[in-house]
Amino acid sequence: MSIRVQNIVKRFGDFVALDDVTLDFPTGELVGLLGPSGCGKTTLLRIIAGLESADRGQVFLDGGDASSAHVRERQVGFVFQHYALFRHMNVFDNVAFGLRVKPRRRRPPESEIRRRVRELLELVQLDWLAERYPPQLSGGQRQRVALARALAVEPRVLLLDEPFGALDAKVRKELRRWLRQLHDRLHITSIFVTHDQEEALEVSDRVVLMNQGRVEQVGTPEQVYEQPSTPFVYGFLGAVNLFHGRIDGQHLQVGVENLSLGQHEFQVGAEALGFVRPHELEIDTDLAQGSGLEARVERVLTLGATTRVDLVGADHAAGRHYEVELPRDRITALGLVVGQRVRLKPARIRLFSPPRPTERTPCAPDGDLVGGYGENI
């Protein structure tokens, strides 16, 4: 079933949680709502579920206006961040709850309920824990019970609020893959909220990036990662090197040095912010070269197949930090030594106009940003 939210506005006192948000969630897709905490993503999810009401705007479920429908009538499955399992009921009764509270004429017979619950517990691989109580389960198990409970009522859409937020890294990764597989089997329209970019990119069919109550970009994981449409998206979706400079023909003039650019639509003399991912930066040990930014190697860290090099700007750019990712053998070939001076050459620069002071988008002051805007880099 498709979901559409239109011109949703929600305020909490003076705080604008959602500022005119319009989005479409097509049938059968798993969409990740991604953004820093306080960006309004959970509020949007709760408005879709009917747990919160919007100050303005509409929610359409399957084309019909559901804005005034009660939570009970919307037939959504909701998985809470802290699971919200009924603590005095065992796993079986938790999952059966939604079926047992149905009005008598729509309630399946108890034998049918038992069969359905068993089936769901098998689906989430927890049939052996049916008699346990929530406090006796691990976080990952609780989350799966919560999911089975939500699925029991055969919801038209599944909404998940930070489903893996309270789990440790390893379980999180497992559950992520598992959720993806589950979705591929059930094809139920699903939205999940997360502040973890890796999670959103890995699990979703499409990602919606939100910031300060607005939608920044919507697209497939590849699209948003490869072609971020705003500086915020660029910064949020991974580590980034930022160069603040002025356009000079085919170059970005940064201080006294310049970086070569490809095609661009900026006017000569315009101020611009250049964004470069760590793997898009090249290291040149030949200092005599005219192009590139001079920097000093601070730390070389090899983890697996890639090596991360931390550098600090030289001379006028002193104090700015840069991060480069190179294949391991390339590092061996370069023979980098800590303290060595090198030139940084971007293979690709993505240019943005610097934000005007009136704009809402928060942006790094200038130049020395490694990492993103997110809280979890």
Partner: protein, 260 residues
């Protein structure tokens, strides 16, 4: 140091709590079991027991319903005036029970605001059972609510939200999700409320009028007997209240233990 503190605590406990309790039973049995039992089965005493049970049986359920409603409202919803309501719930703790009694006399008494109107319609509130109930309800008002509010606030409303999303009605959510979660806190509050309702003296004393066989509850009966120099009988009746207190302590400890 530890030894000194324990000694201080124990002697304080013995002097101010244990000794009076022992005295009650010692005095009650001073003239033997026959006198003790006679004091309890005497008609006025039996009536006092009946009246105390009656007042409690009305006041406690009322405060149970009110307490749960108030706690639910305060813990699960945000609204204007929430802070004021929370403060008002504590009012009975900060007002002297005698003032409470006087208040009801001033409102419902013969010379009170509604007195003449009530007289015309033949309704007696002050110096009758309704007055006793009103005063008791007021005094025991906070026990259940006070116990439940922090508990329900700590539990949050996610479980209720989950139940509603799954299609449960508000009533069903209350019976199957909220109530089981607050069960032990609720029993605890009711036990304390009950103990206070049976033992209340000040407020009840003002609205009662001390009419034997009509408006005398157990604590008031004790006072009357004592003032009439029937010490053994007074202590015999008092020992009932003391036993009730001990029973309350046992139930309370059991609930605390189970609730964990």
């Amino acid at each position: 140091m530890k030894g000194v503190l324990i000694a201080v605590a124990l002697s304080f406990f013995s002097l101010f709590l244990l000794l009076p309790l022992v005295t009650v039973f010692a005095e009650a049995l001073r003239k033997g079991w026959a006198v003790y039992l006679a004091a309890l089965v005497e008609p006025d005493a039996l009536f006092a027991i009946y009246l105390t049970l009656l007042v409690t049986a009305i006041a406690v359920p009322l405060n149970l319903i009110f307490g749960v409603t108030a706690a639910w409202t305060i813990a699960k919803f945000d609204f204007r005036g929430k802070q004021l309501l929370t403060t008002l719930i504590d009012l009975p703790f900060s007002v002297s029970p005698v003032i409470v009694g006087l208040m009801y006399v001033l409102i419902f008494g013969a010379q009170g605001w509604f007195g003449p109107w009530l007289m015309e319609h033949g309704v007696r509130i002050v110096f009758a059972v309704p007055g006793l109930v009103l005063a008791t309800v007021f005094v025991t008002f906070p026990f259940v609510a006070r116990e439940l509010i922090p508990l329900m606030q700590a539990q949050g409303k996610e479980e209720e939200e989950a139940a509603v999303v799954l299609g449960a009605s508000g009533w069903r959510t209350f019976w199957h999700v909220t109530l089981p979660n607050i069960k032990w806190g609720l029993i605890y509050g009711v036990v304390l409320c009950n103990a206070r309702a049976m033992g209340e003296f000040g407020a009840v004393s003002v609205v009662s009028g001390h009419i034997r066989g009509q408006t005398n509850t157990l604590p008031l009966h004790v006072e009357i007997l004592y003032n009439e120099y029937q010490f053994a009988a007074a202590f015999a009746v008092a020992s009932l209240l003391a036993l009730l207190a001990l029973l309350t302590l046992v139930v309370k400890s059991w609930v605390e233990w189970r609730g964990r």
